[in-house]
Symmetry: C2
DNA sequence: CTTACTGCAAATATTTTGCATTTGG
DNA sequence: CCAAATGCAAAATATTTGCAGTAAG
């Protein structure tokens, strides 16, 4: 495989090498899993990884997710409850909406929230970290068919 | 507030009674703690409760917070990491900003986010639950004095 | 009295950590 | 070869649950 295998993107190898870090199969597997799943908790990443390769350890997944996040290859947000949710860092700038009824997670381009962010700066002197924003509520589907 | 005791508000006793639930000292303690602390994890609520009375059990705090939330006497949001944060249900409508550097939590009136919410409905057909909104970023203080 | 509620301890679940072993470069 | 990374198992956390005893109404 060249510098790009079409799955995890072109430059993650370079990003690792640049810092003297090692390219291990586990790291590639975790990165692939995050990308495949879109949004996933460490648990789900582990499950996905183990679908491909056997014996990858949970602690490796935790450690790897931390590492990849430091390198900006993945990001995480808190989509309710306990477990943080990781997603691919390469994806376009977006925040998340989470439906409290069906749990569906949707990516929304940050452009929509631009005015909101500006207002927070003006009124509250608070600089919003858009990529980390999560909006809870109800999706159209669940609003239409109340449980 | 008529029946009020000035701490936990006027009608929590009535709210409990209306459902055939019992008024226990533990429940009052937990409600008081949430109100005193403003924003607190179950752990912090437990600590605060135990400052007043000894021997209140952690599981009682968990169970009580769940119960009080069902009754809309408290609310919770996810302010990062693992533990949910509870706050008093009676407080005015607001959402939270959390500084990722110093961890400071600020309450912001939902009015500011009104346009944002409307845009989410128009563009995404998503009904925002404002009380549950948490915005991560950097407060003015930390932006001014970068660590 | 009746049964909702609490305390306690054990069961779960989740994430972290120390250390010996493996392995990428 | 050597430091970095992994696996493993134990530890640290956080939350839930079953059950017997306590107490609110």
């Amino acid at each position: 495989m060249s510098t790009s295998d079409g799955r995890t993107g072109p430059d993650w190898r370079a990003t690792l090498r640049a810092r003297g870090l090692r390219l291990t199969p586990q790291r590639e597997l975790v990165l692939d899993a995050v990308r495949t799943l879109g949004h996933a908790t460490p648990d789900q990443v582990l499950a996905q990884v183990q679908r491909t390769a056997t014996g990858v350890n949970a602690s490796t997944v935790y450690r790897t997710l931390d590492l990849l996040e430091k390198l900006d290859l993945v990001r995480h947000t808190h989509l309710g409850h306990g477990a943080p949710t990781y997603h691919f860092g390469g994806s376009a700038d977006h925040f998340h909406t989470v439906c409290r009824d069906c749990g569906t997670v949707t990516e929304v381009p940050t452009a929509i929230a631009r005015t909101f962010a500006e207002q927070l700066i003006t009124d509250q002197a608070f600089q919003t970290d858009m990529g980390h924003l999560t909006v809870f509520g109800r999706c159209s589907n669940c609003a239409a068919h109340p449980s």
